[in-house]
């Protein structure tokens, strides 16, 4: 029986683990399908305090993990499928775990476009990680799908490798910040195809192109491509929590928040379950915010356990 089971291994999860294991609580981190979380797919992180010359996302997460393990946190590579609703909780993945409290720190995952041919060409031209896969498209023609900051950042990053990048977005307006849009628009390798919806990807053993439809005129376009990078945002990884805690319509876990100063801010609607990081936060979505919330959740869990003694 663990005192605290933390589901998720990003900055929220590992910071919670550092705090709870340092408080001599028996702590388990269930790492989930994306070990180390979203920061592992970025390059250098320049806005995490304490690293004056920046730090690689994967290195930062390794260090957080080591720090948690140093204080006795156990880490398992497993993916949670179900949890029960009352303490002591049973958490089930490939194996079953029991814990007095749970901290949900599952974060968010890259959204897929959701068209059938997308799955077929994953790893055969379609990618969700520009920093991982840009290398394979040296001198090639690619497209980035999306209109937010991530899409602009990926398009700009990919110009280091590729010949030509087309940013394809389903609306006329990009929702990225002005500075990111300006940077992308100034780049001679980047062009834009706006107001286009995706009908299908096509190819043989590898991706060859995409068929698009103009959202206003209905005009069909066929764009030959060697690669397609999908950057259409993130969705909270909380589907397994349906009927366990209250979530909003997008799947973000509801926590009490900071309205009452003396309250456990990270408490969910279910007694003994706390939540932190991008799975509750659609506004800030920063590693440092997730880490801060992780420490809050660990303190809340510790106080909750003390109250039960």
């Amino acid at each position: 029986m663990y005192d605290v089971i933390i589901i998720g291994s990003g900055p929220a999860g590992y910071t919670a683990a550092i705090y709870s294991s340092r408080a001599f609580l028996k702590t388990l981190v269930i790492a989930g399908p994306q070990f180390g979380g979203q920061l592992t797919t970025t390059t250098t992180i320049d806005n995490f305090p304490g690293f004056a010359s920046g730090i690689m996302g994967s290195t930062l997460m390794e260090e957080m993990k080591k720090q948690a393990v140093r204080f006795g946190t156990e880490v398992v590579m497993d993916e949670v499928k179900t949890i029960t609703k009352t303490s002591p909780f049973t958490v089930t993945g490939a194996k079953t775990y029991e814990g007095k409290t749970i901290i949900i720190a599952t974060g968010a995952q890259a959204k897929i476009l959701g068209i059938p041919t997308e799955v077929q060409f994953r790893g055969k031209g379609i990618s969700y990680c520009a920093t991982c896969d840009g290398f394979f498209f040296k001198g090639k023609t690619i497209a980035v799908f999306g209109g937010g900051d991530t899409a602009m950042e990926e398009a700009t990053f990919l110009t280091k490798f590729v010949e030509k990048v087309t940013v394809i977005h389903r609306r006329e307006e990009l929702r990225a910040s002005k500075i990111m849009i300006e940077k992308a628009k100034k780049d001679p390798k980047i062009s834009f195809l706006l107001n286009k919806t995706v009908d299908a990807f096509y190819g043989d053993t590898v991706l060859k192109g995409v068929k698009l439809t103009d959202a206003t005129t209905g005009e069909k376009t066929d764009l030959p491509l060697d690669g397609a990078f999908i950057a259409i945002g993130h969705t909270p990884a909380t589907a397994f929590l349906k009927d366990i805690v209250v979530m909003d319509d997008k799947g973000y876990v509801q926590i009490r928040g900071m309205r009452i100063p003396t309250d456990a801010h990270t408490a969910t609607t279910t007694d003994g379950i706390f939540a932190a990081g991008d799975c509750v936060d659609s506004r800030y979505r920063q590693g440092i915010v997730a880490a801060g919330m992780g420490s809050m959740a660990a303190i809340d869990a510790e106080k909750w356990l003390e109250g039960k003694k």
């Binding site: 399908p33 994306q34 592992t40 994967s58 398992v76 590579m77 994953r122």
Partner: protein, 118 residues
């Protein structure tokens, strides 16, 4: 028992490097199934995959060969098997690729994929 996989950072499996030069001998001519992890130092998810592949290597010792190909240094092999996303893990049997997995894989997923071809 907890299936805890220790975390040792990026310096894993120094002994099972496969290169463009050694690929034929180590992988294609192997009499056992071979799991090949295509990776690079600049790929964050690959750093997460590393210790898992190493754990699989220890567990499957004698039953299968497990190795890694640095795609930066060995573009030949990566190109030949159409690797366009990393981590990609390919299982070879009798000189042929029999299973290809894209994205970070759990130990369970790799063990069951390997066990299926032994």
């Amino acid at each position: 028992m907890i299936d805890y996989i220790p975390y040792e950072g990026g310096n894993y499996m120094a002994d099972i490097q496969i290169t463009d030069q050694t690929f034929d001998q180590t992988v294609l001519k192997s009499d056992k199934p071979v799991l090949v992890d295509f990776w690079a130092v600049w790929c964050g998810p690959c750093q997460m995959q590393g210790p898992i592949v190493e754990a699989v290597a220890k567990e499957m010792e004698g039953k299968a060969v497990v190795g890694k190909v640095n795609v930066d240094e060995n573009p030949g092999v990566a190109g030949k098997y159409g690797v366009m996303s990393i981590p990609t893990l390919i299982i070879f049997k009798g000189g042929q690729p029999v299973k290809q997995l894209v994205g970070v894989q759990s130990k369970e997923a790799l063990m069951s994929a390997l066990t299926a071809v032994i």
